[in-house]
């Protein structure tokens, strides 16, 4: 008798569950019901997840200051920081400049720079249009006077309102963007009436890899 009562009780409970569970068609602030959770949530730590172990709640840890990963020696200081051994910004791009590099810079720039600085580098990007956020133009006097290393440093560490892009853009791509920015400036100067007439409108050929040719991408008369 007791057993039967138990069975009935269990059935009643099950029906309540079935009614209240409402797996589909109901709105709920809680996550959906998941009857077979096997291996959906594994006891391992994946990238960009939270952690209840670390005090800051993040499972991703900063590298220990001072450590050097394999391949992270970065001994070419000029290439990685844009500064020479004297701590001053280097004048020219430390990699061979050719059309491929400028094209790479154009692609990267379209991803990372264009939203603010716009396609022509006038600082009239979407941020300016909608938020009226003052954004620097590549063609203003100040920027024209920057050395290549200084532009690299701005991309790396940011300046003013602009954030640093050291994480999303690897150094080689930052130099490509520098080359592209220089290309933009040179073309603008060439088309402007006040531009020095000596500035030729062509890049060195794509095969030019002589380091001496690096400066060729630089608009003449900028400095």
């Amino acid at each position: 008798m007791i057993a039967r009562r138990r069975v009935i009780g269990a059935l009643a409970l099950t029906s309540v569950v079935a009614l209240s569970g409402c797996a589909r068609g109901c709105t709920s602030s809680r996550p959906p019901i998941h009857l077979n959770p096997s291996m959906d949530d594994q006891p391992k730590v994946r990238a960009q997840t939270s952690s209840t172990f670390f005090y800051d709640g993040a499972s991703m840890r900063q590298p220990v200051p001072g450590t050097i990963p394999i391949g992270g020696l970065n001994e070419d200081v000029a290439f990685f920081t844009g500064k020479g051994p004297d701590g001053q910004f280097i004048a020219t791009i430390p990699v061979p400049v050719n059309e491929a590099l400028v094209e790479r810079g154009r692609q990267r720039s379209a991803i990372y720079c264009q939203p603010c600085h716009d396609a022509r580098g006038d600082g009239k990007g979407i941020l300016f249009q909608r938020g009226n956020v003052p954004t620097a133009s590549f063609h203003q006097e100040k920027v024209l006077k920057y050395t290549d290393g200084q532009i690299f440093d701005v991309i790396t560490n940011g300046v003013g309102l602009m954030a640093g892009y050291r994480w999303p853009i690897p150094p080689a791509d930052r130099w490509a963007i520098v080359a592209y920015v220089r290309d933009l400036q040179r073309k603008r100067l060439a088309s402007a009436p006040a531009a020095p007439t000596s500035a030729e409108g062509k890049l060195p050929s794509a095969s030019a890899t002589d380091p001496a040719d690096k400066t060729a991408a630089k608009p003449a008369g900028i400095k």
């Binding site: 291996m39 730590v45 990238a47 450590t67």
Partner: protein
């Protein structure tokens, strides 16, 4: 030669119980029963209850949050691991490592190929060290008498203590450390000594090479140590030594030994060891081009891994090594050596043949003595190596710098000072003396008499719990440091993560004491390196050292030992006493020899809380989670002991009760005890596991001694061994040959006949050609179909893309188990515990089978065989899976789709190799948060009811494929390394693309020794084996391998 292989004594006896157990896949009734008495019926009820509760409370999809970096570090791409070079300090060695870091969390450790001590290899201990970092029982704060304190509290307290001690020059101050070798530690120790000139410093290692150092000092008069070059050695004699496993430098030894082993084993055409009778040949090259296979002689009392690899093994008690060496030295004509009494009962032909071989290979011979042998033996070995012209070729010496050498005497004098009350402050700088100090010193009682005790430890261990102050010790993956490797190479310890619990390294604690101010380890180490590298361009040099992990060219200069004194005189005195003792031992049950062994897994007990190491089967006994006393079959018979029988050992006024295990190949009259087990405060894994054998170990005899008595106790204790699991029913599984046979029959590895196999089939198999014939590789997948094989299924053609395959060289494999732990770390393999192992439910994806052959009461020969999934092209498991959870992919991998698996276990039942593992329980369900960090994020953590097995490290294959595609290049041979392959110190495993005709794996498969396991089943396994080759000395055929009647 017909040879019968056996896995255990029970198999040899072949009782009905054993047959019955063998026929079951899992060893106990009701494989699905939960422990703790919950029945299947209860389980169904619980299941029903949890289902009905599901709608009310649980079973909601977990809330997952995305937590990016706030300040993203340059070069870290989430999901892409980065690698750091660092160093694991271990005793006075330094293991150069490459550590994989997933977003700042170290998850996997590999050897650094450029580092001279690891050469890219690793061991179980190295692999498992990453689990030590994430040990949930690590101590989490500084404590003072059990109360939580901060590090600053300790710094303040130390300030007062240090002022008090400064007044009397540190007369009441004592430091107890482990031995070390590193410039920063040496510098800080010197500074501390300047500050407190009267302080006492003791250095103690429970597992120590003190007697070797003492022997070398006696022989040369200087503090020297040696480096062994196995790759240069043609004839090796190991005297009670285990250079291939428990020696800290086992990587180099194993790599060199395997290289010398592979030489001449690849086809038998040029295998010519310089036979003593033969004409002398020019000195053989190091590896590869060297033509002769090396020959290993082992003389030992306890069956070691080195003994298992030996071509000739002589069973002698440890105390008989000295007389044996004396007789050998006399036979070799060493000046000053006298034969003495020799070893009674030993066939003189053994020494004659050995001496002949050593004399014929002057300059390419090598004699090595074990750490537990007395100093006189080491001194004599040093003199003999020089006498034979081996010094500078197969063995070199160097003078040690920056080192604190182990000394039991220093501990003895420290303890007597503690007991006398002259020590006011004791600092235990790492180590666990309360647990592992010699029993006669009673360190705990002496420690109680010291008013201020400070202990640095990873956990609140036996020592820390008795100390007034406990400081959590930083793991090597959390700390900055520098150490010197054996040979002197300066290696840097670079942290992978900030200390998880604010631990402090020995450098920081010693730095505080030496300088009186709290400084970070980074500054201390940089300061030392400035002295070494010079201030000029220091940052650049420092960064390079960090990047490489070590300073190239910093090794100590080689030293030609000049002999002082009479190395053989002391040996003669030693021999006189021990030879007669050995003889007496055979007669009576009293006066057995007691031998203390380091644990191959836990070492001296420091790794006791590491589940991977606890569950790692011992290489020879295949026991997990325990340390029984080991005796030989004859000794067991004499004392009427059986496996799992409890015994009492009485020795030097102390006694110990523990179970006994009968290991064939042990010397008779020896009882061997493994140290490191039986810890009371190791943590949730290691506490109370096994038996504390330090309780009977004294300061007078830390290696071996006479005078032990065994008494049977009417109790038994169950042991969990893996050796009888997954038997392959006596089929010809391991194959071996000898150099001579290989030479005469170059195209065939010897096919081992077996008693159970019909003779006709055997003859057929023996006559059949080798499985991998050149030129037919592309016809049908990778393997040609043999004429007598026919398939029930339409054959799939694997002729596109990469086709992965593996070879395992049984001739190189030393059975060290490094592959097992490497696989466990890479593939998130769970630990199941002793009870589950007893039921045959261990989860290792690769196991190392150990086969004995020969007379069990004598010195049986051993073959090790690592067995992962064979990745059969015609996989029997796939054909029986009802839900297609295990299927083949286009690269020839036999893959597991975990989500599909419903746990029928048909696949496991149908697998002829027994390599599939089933999750009987949710072994990872209650994983603590900290242990989740140790899991490889690239590999699924399997749940209950899911079958799993070796995947050929499919995640590594995919990583390489992605990288190659991004870089726009093809995958090169050697780009993909499986975890087991990468770890293997002997380079026994090759893995690669079978369609790449130039790949190493294809070349290995073309070796005539290549054979497939259970080839007659036509499963066409992608993993094949290369047969083992022995190199016996013809002069020793039929000579007795022991000395006692």
């Amino acid at each position: 030669v017909s040879r019968t292989y056996w896995r255990s004594l029970a198999q040899l006896e072949d009782r009905p119980e054993f047959r019955a157990a063998l026929e079951r896949e899992f060893l106990e009734e009701g494989p699905s029963e939960l422990p703790e008495g919950i029945t299947r019926r209860d389980m169904m009820m619980l299941l029903g209850a949890s289902l009905s509760l599901a709608g009310l409370a649980g079973c909601r999809r977990p809330v997952e949050e995305i937590v990016p970096f706030v300040t993203a570090p340059e070069d870290v791409v989430p999901g892409i691991p980065r690698y750091y070079a660092t160093t694991m300090p271990f005793r006075r060695s330094a293991y150069g490592l490459i550590v994989e870091s997933h977003e700042g969390r170290p998850t996997k450790v590999e050897g650094n190929p450029a580092h001279p001590s690891t050469l890219g290899a690793s061991s179980s201990i190295v692999q498992a060290s990453v689990l030590g970092l994430y040990d949930p029982d690590r101590s989490q704060s500084v404590t003072q008498q059990g109360a939580r304190k901060s590090w600053n509290d300790f710094v303040t307290a130390w300030g007062q203590l240090s002022a008090a001690h400064a007044s009397d020059g540190g007369a009441g101050l004592a430091i107890l450390s482990e031995s070390f070798c590193g410039p920063t530690m040496a510098r800080l120790a010197t500074e501390l000594r300047e500050r407190y000139p009267k302080m006492q410093w003791a250095t103690y290692d429970a597992v120590s090479d003190e007697s070797r150092l003492a022997g070398l000092k006696a022989a040369t008069g200087r503090d020297v140590d040696l480096m062994l070059r196995f790759d240069q050695a043609a004839v090796i004699l190991a005297l009670d030594a285990d250079p291939l496993l428990t020696d800290p430098e086992m990587f180099r030894h194993a790599r060199g030994f395997a290289a010398g082993r592979s030489a001449g084993a690849t086809g038998g055409t040029t295998s010519t060891l310089r036979e003593p009778q033969g004409r002398p040949e020019p000195s053989r090259g190091a590896t590869g081009s060297g033509q002769a296979m090396n020959r290993l002689y082992a003389v030992e009392g306890v069956f070691s891994l080195t003994g298992a690899m030996a071509d000739h093994r002589l069973r002698l008690q440890s105390r008989q090594i000295a007389p044996f060496l004396g007789a050998l030295a006399a036979r070799l004509g060493a000046p000053g050596a006298s034969a003495g009494a020799g070893v009674p009962g030993l066939d003189p032909r053994w020494i004659d043949a050995l001496a002949k071989d050593l004399l014929a290979n002057r300059g390419t011979g090598l004699i090595v003595a074990g750490e537990r042998q007395p100093a006189a033996v080491h001194a004599a070995v040093c003199a003999l190596n020089t006498h034979l012209g081996n010094t500078g070729k197969t063995v070199s010496y160097y003078e040690m710098k920056d080192a604190a050498l182990p000394s039991v005497a220093s501990l003895v004098s420290l303890v007597s000072a503690m007991n006398a009350g002259t020590i006011k402050t004791l600092v235990v700088l790492g180590g666990n003396p309360v647990f592992d100090a010699p029993a006669d010193l009673d360190f705990a009682a002496a420690m109680a008499k010291v008013p201020e005790t400070i202990a640095l430890g990873h956990t609140v261990d036996e020592t820390s719990v008795k100390a007034k102050w406990h400081i959590p010790r930083a793991h090597y993956l959390e700390s900055w440091g520098d150490v010197r490797a054996a040979g002197g190479t300066l290696s840097v310890v670079q942290p992978l993560i900030l200390p998880l619990f604010g631990g402090k390294s020995t450098f920081e604690v010693l730095g505080l004491m030496a300088a009186g101010q709290d400084r970070p380890g980074y500054d201390i180490v940089r300061e030392t390196l400035t002295l070494i590298l010079g201030e000029d361009e220091f940052d650049k040099k420092w960064n390079r050292v960090l990047h490489e992990g070590f300073l190239a060219g910093s090794e100590f200069p080689e030293l030609a030992p000049a002999f002082a004194g009479e190395p053989f005189a002391e040996l003669g005195r030693l021999s006189a006493g021990s030879a007669s003792a050995g003889q007496a031992a055979s007669a009576s049950s009293g006066d057995m020899e007691i031998v203390f062994l380091p644990s191959p897994a836990l070492h001296d007990g420091r790794f006791a809380n590491d589940g991977w190491l606890q569950e790692l089967p011992d290489p020879l006994t295949k026991l997990t989670w325990d340390n029984p006393a080991l005796v030989s079959p004859k000794t067991a018979e004499r004392l009427s002991l059986a496996n799992e029988q409890m015994i009492r050992i009485d020795y030097s006024g102390r006694s110990l009760e523990l179970p006994v295990y009968i290991l064939p190949g042990m010397a008779d009259g020896v009882v061997a005890l493994t140290v490191g087990y039986g810890r009371s405060r190791a943590g949730r894994i290691g506490s109370g596991v096994g038996f504390d054998t330090y309780k009977v170990r004294t300061s007078k005899a830390s290696g071996f001694d006479s005078g032990a008595t065994l008494t049977k106790i009417a109790r038994s204790y169950s042991l969990s061994a893996t050796q009888t699991h997954g038997s392959m029913e006596g089929r010809p599984i391991v194959r071996e040959s000898t150099v001579t046979e290989l030479r005469s029959r170059p195209s065939t590895a010897e096919h081992k006949p077996d008693a159970q196999k019909p003779a006709a089939e055997e003859a057929h198999a023996a006559a059949s050609p080798q499985p991998a014939k050149k030129g037919t590789m592309s016809a049908l997948g990778v393997f040609p179909e043999e004429t007598h094989h026919f398939s029930l299924w339409k054959e799939h053609v694997y002729d596109q893309g990469n086709q992965w395959g593996m070879t395992i060289d049984l001739n190189a494999c030393i059975g060290c188990n490094a592959c097992m732990t490497a696989c466990q770390s890479e593939n998130n393999v769970p630990v199941v515990g002793k009870i589950q192992v007893a039921k045959g439910r261990e989860m290792h994806w690769i196991r190392v089978d150990r086969y004995f052959s020969g007379e069990p009461a004598g010195s049986p020969e051993v073959v090790f065989q690592p067995v992962p999934c064979m990745h059969c092209e015609d996989a029997p498991c796939e054909q029986v899976c009802p839900v297609a959870a295990t299927v083949h992919d286009a690269q020839g991998l036999n893959t597991m789709v975990y989500n599909r698996c419903i746990g029928t276990r048909y696949c496991s039942n149908n697998c002829p190799y027994k390599v599939r593992r089933f999750n009987f329980f949710n072994f990872t369900k209650d994983t603590p948060d900290i242990l989740k960090l140790a899991m490889n994020p690239d590999v699924t953590v399997r749940a209950r009811g899911v079958m799993e097995k070796c995947t050929y490290c499919t995640q590594r294959i995919n990583r390489v494929k992605i990288d190659a595609k991004l870089a726009g290049r093809a995958i090169k041979d050697g780009d993909v390394k499986t975890a087991c392959q990468q770890a293997c110190p002997a380079s026994a495993i090759e893995f690669g693309d079978l369609r790449d005709q130039s790949s190493r794996v294809v070349k290995a498969k073309a070796d005539p020794r290549n054979y497939a396991l259970l080839e007659e089943l036509n499963t066409k396994p992608r993993t094949t084996y290369l047969a083992k080759v022995r190199n016996p000395n013809a002069d020793l055929a039929g000579v007795r391998t022991d000395a006692l009647g």
